[in-house]
Structures are given as structure tokens and as C-alpha cells.
């Protein structure tokens, strides 16, 4: 698993060296549904997940603070 993640990271890093999409070519990339962050409305859903599940983080959501005890 760890090896796969490292390979994935390296692959993504190296791929970045050969790609430079110009601003005028980013019509599809700039589509709102292509955003790499979640919409704000998603965070209420993420909040309940962070309360009910042991795992959190690496999703742009809450990683600490708050009780989460209800």
C-alpha cells in the first residue's frame, strides 16, 4: 500500500513535468464540476462523517477541534 502511494506521488510529480496546459485550453478543466475541492454544501456531510468515523483529514475538511460527542 505504501509503495503504491509513493509510486502514485512520483508518477504525478513526473507527469507534471511534461504537461503545461495553456490558459486558453483550460475550458474543460475550469468547469465547476472539475474542481479539486468540494463545494461548501458538502462540508455538512463531511462533518457528520468526521463524527461517526475514526478517520478524518486529507479531504480539505476538519482535522481537529470540536467535541464530536453527540
Amino acid at each position: 500500500m505504501i509503495k503504491k502511494m509513493i509510486l502514485c506521488g512520483l508518477a504525478l510529480s513526473f507527469l507534471s513535468s511534461c504537461v503545461a496546459v495553456k490558459e486558453y485550453e483550460k475550458v474543460k478543466i475550469n468547469d465547476p464540476d472539475m474542481a479539486l475541492s468540494e463545494k461548501n454544501v458538502h462540508r455538512l456531510e463531511a462533518t457528520f462523517q468526521s463524527y461517526r468515523e475514526a478517520a478524518s483529514g486529507a479531504n480539505g475538511g476538519k482535522t481537529g477541534g470540536g467535541c464530536g460527542c453527540n
Binding site: M1, I2, S16, I29, D33, S56, G65, C67, N70
Partner: protein, 439 residues
């Protein structure tokens, strides 16, 4: 695989390698012209209103030692106001309030209802409901070429038995013609409990007032109040995103979190298998309260990959691996397929899978021994897998024709999610979001 030093070292190396690689690009002279037209980071003030209605039910309430009603209802509303201070700076004020009623927390004192005390029956006392409120002020500054973004935030949240103060900051660097983005952020949360214990363990409680003890009439719980009620959380996050083609982009995220202090829930009961049971009415009196270590280190590594299939479909995927030093490992995978059915309406079917192993300190009802140092029967720390099915719809009007006062409606989101654990817990959540832009 559990989180140990060896694995931690390997995983720490991921963001370092990415950072080193990316800094290579940074050496290249930025090709973005510094003389191009400087677009405002945020053209005009935006207001977003979010709301949710959440319900859950199950039979493994932690307040009653892993056996009892988990019925809970929560209503949350949030208002986010983003204000451009000038061409480069944006101030965001985020306030929210959440009100819940909970059968399990009502059983912190199960004897104040109208019916005989029972772990599967909600009581009606003060602990049956609570209100949580929070506020976050954040500030972001972008450089003239929009390739550097600095941010800082201050957060406060409070409920009856808990107070949290948070501070955070972040830096984002874009380069390679804005094809590559690196970010780093750090947050500190300084939290304080006002410990509320099960009614039968409070020194001031006269149990005879609530009824006669039956079963083991020589009731003698293990209980010492916590002498420290602080909880501090420190987190550091790293992000790397890359445009991989005109239709494909991805991101890697790593979060480290360390928590110190009171990590146990003071009102969660534990029942030992080697201690005779004592009851009042139908309610089993606590043998002890949850005891967990006062330190926890978490690591999460996540990745996103989004692909623009055509003018109708987009594929959004996400995967996360998580491990902590309490023995929990977890995997999360989700997929969403936005479908543009018209230029204004988009559908969002989604599926999310989650699983986790149990914490080293978890055991079900009556499975712990009184000689153990740490124990909990909180099923949120048990081994389980969960599926979440979602469906949403979004209305978008880029011309903001519908108005309320000086604000034009830009988008409206509505989403429903059904969440089911293989251990029995079921939950559903309806969320709504309205985004307005000031004229």
C-alpha cells in the same frame, strides 16, 4: 498496517519528494506575464447559506456502554459571507449553529424521564439536547500574479460542555503556468471540556432517590474524575495538485494530526464482564467511564482524480488511506458522476465506501475486563464498513436573474445521502445550499 515509526517515515517522504520535484519547476522563470490584466480575486461580495437535517438510529450507544438507542436528530444552519477588501484580499466570515436532540446523551441521566429508565428509551432531561455554535474569520491575500496565496484564520466553537479555539494559516504556490499547485497549512485547536459524568457516578448523587438497586446491590464503580479537561490538537497539511491534460487533473493531500489531553468522552459508560451488574429500573449502572490514552497521532493520505468525459458527464473520484497509533486503519473511496441535463441543472449521483479496523482499546458491551488500563465501547472506534448513497441536484444561473434585495441567486444545491454501517447504524442527511452574489 498500523501507524509505526517506519511507516510514518515512508509516508512523510511523499510530500517531501513532491515538494522537491515541484521546487524544480519553481526554478523555471514563471511564464505568466506580470503585465497582464489583474483580475480581482473576488469580483463582488458573496453570501452562501447552508442548512442540513441529519437523523440516525442504531442500537450501540456509547453513553450506555455499547448497548442502547443511538437515535439522534440534528439541524444545522451556516452563513458564509465573503467580502473582497481590494483586488487581492478577501475576508470571509463563517458562522454556524447546530441544534440536536439525542437519545443516548439523554441517558447521561436516564432517571429524569416520565418512563422507567431504559437504555433503549430516551430520557427528557437537560442532556437530551444541546446547541453548538461556531464562528470562523479567515483572510486570504493573493500576489499580483496570483501565483502566491497566503491565508490565516481564527475559529471559535462552543457547546454546553465543550469550548474550542482554533488558529491556522496556510500558503499556496502555483507555477508551471498555473498547472501545478503546492500548498501547506497548519492549525492549532485549543479545546476545553466541562466534564459531565453519568448521573450515578457524580459524588453529589443520592441513588436512592431514583429507585432501588437490584442485581448486585453492593454497587461499587471504578471512578475518578478527570483532573485535566484540556484537549489540544495540532495539524499540518500538505497538498499537491496537477493538471494532467485538458480533461484530467488530480491532487494528493497529506494530513498529520496530533491530539493531546482529555481524549476520552467523560459521559460514556463501560460495563465489565468480570463485575456483577447493578440496575435501577431497567437501566444498568456504569462500572466505569471510558478511558483512552491522552495522546493520539493520526495520518491521512488522500488523492483526487477528476476527468471531464464530455459536455454532459464529469467523473470525480477520491481515495484516502488513514492510520493512527490507536491501532485504527481505514480506507475511504468515493465516486461521483455529475450529469449536466441542461445548462442550468446538474444531477449528482454518488457512492462512498468506508471501512476501518477497531481501536486497540475497543470491546463490545461486557467484553472488557476491569483490570485493563484503557477501555471503550464506543462503536465509532469499532471495526466496521459503511456505504453511503447520495443524490443531488444543482441549479446554476450565471446571470443571477432571481434576486433577493441586492443579491442575485447564483446557485442552489440540494442533496440527500443515506449512510449504512454493517454494524447496524443507519443515518440520512439532507443538505441545501444557496449562493448569492451582490449586485
Amino acid at each position: 498496517m498500523q501507524l509505526n515509526k517506519k511507516n510514518m517515515k515512508k509516508l512523510v517522504s511523499i510530500p517531501i519528494m513532491i515538494f522537491v520535484t515541484a521546487m524544480g519547476f519553481a526554478q523555471e522563470k514563471a511564464q505568466d506575464s506580470e503585465n497582464t490584466y489583474k483580475k480581482r480575486v473576488l469580483e463582488t461580495a458573496e453570501v452562501e447559506f447552508l442548512a442540513s437535517y441529519y437523523t440516525q438510529d442504531g442500537d450501540n450507544a456509547a453513553v450506555t456502554g455499547g448497548l442502547g438507542s443511538e437515535k439522534l436528530t440534528d439541524v444545522t444552519s451556516t452563513l458564509i459571507v465573503s467580502i473582497p477588501l481590494n483586488d487581492d484580499d478577501v475576508l470571509t466570515v463563517d458562522t454556524g449553529i447546530s441544534a440536536y436532540t439525542s437519545a443516548s446523551s439523554s441517558n447521561i441521566n436516564p432517571f429524569d424521564g416520565n418512563k422507567p429508565a431504559d437504555p433503549f428509551q430516551a430520557s427528557s432531561g437537560a442532556s437530551a439536547s444541546d446547541v453548538w455554535a461556531n464562528g470562523v474569520i479567515s483572510y486570504a491575500h493573493s500576489s499580483d500574479d496570483r501565483n502566491n496565496i497566503w491565508s490565516a484564520k481564527l475559529s471559535v466553537s462552543a457547546e454546553f460542555d465543550y469550548y474550542s479555539l482554533g488558529l491556522g494559516g496556510g500558503y499556496t504556490k502555483l507555477f508551471n503556468e498555473k498547472n501545478t499547485e503546492l500548498s501547506v497549512n497548519a492549525n492549532i485547536y485549543l479545546d476545553t471540556w466541562k466534564a459531565i459524568y453519568p448521573i450515578e457516578l457524580r459524588p453529589s448523587t443520592n441513588l436512592g432517590r431514583y429507585g432501588t438497586i437490584w442485581g448486585n446491590t453492593n454497587y461499587n464503580p471504578i471512578f475518578t474524575p478527570f483532573n485535566s479537561e484540556g484537549r489540544n490538537s495540532y495539524s499540518a497539511g500538505f497538498g499537491f495538485s496537477q493538471i494532467l491534460s485538458k480533461r484530467l487533473q488530480g491532487a494528493l493531500m497529506v494530513d498529520f494530526v496530533n491530539q493531546q489531553g482529555l481524549l476520552s468522552m467523560p459521559f460514556q459508560r463501560v460495563y465489565f464482564g468480570d463485575v456483577a451488574n447493578s440496575f435501577i429500573e431497567n437501566f444498568q449502572l456504569a462500572d466505569a467511564i471510558e478511558q483512552l490514552p491522552n495522546n493520539r497521532t493520526k495520518l491521512a493520505v488522500g488523492g483526487r482524480m477528476n476527468y471531464y468525459i464530455n459536455e454532459i458527464f464529469v467523473l470525480r473520484t477520491y481515495y484516502r488511506y488513514y492510520a493512527d497509533d490507536w491501532g485504527i486503519t481505514s480506507q475511504t473511496a468515493s465516486i461521483e458522476l455529475p450529469i449536466k441535463i441542461t445548462d442550468k441543472f446538474t444531477l449528482y449521483p454518488s457512492y462512498r465506501f468506508y471501512n476501518q479496523t477497531a481501536a486497540n482499546y475497543f470491546a463490545p458491551y461486557e467484553q472488557h475486563r476491569s483490570t485493563e488500563e484503557f477501555y471503550t465501547s464506543d462503536y465509532d472506534l469499532s471495526k466496521y464498513s459503511a456505504s453511503q448513497y447520495g443524490f443531488g441536484i444543482t441549479y446554476t444561473d450565471i446571470f443571477t436573474r432571481a434576486h433577493i434585495y441586492k443579491f442575485g441567486l447564483k446557485s442552489l444545491d440540494l442533496k440527500f445521502n443515506q449512510y449504512e454501517r454493517n454494524s447496524g447504524l443507519k443515518a440520512s442527511i439532507v443538505t441545501a445550499g444557496l449562493k448569492f452574489i451582490m449586485d
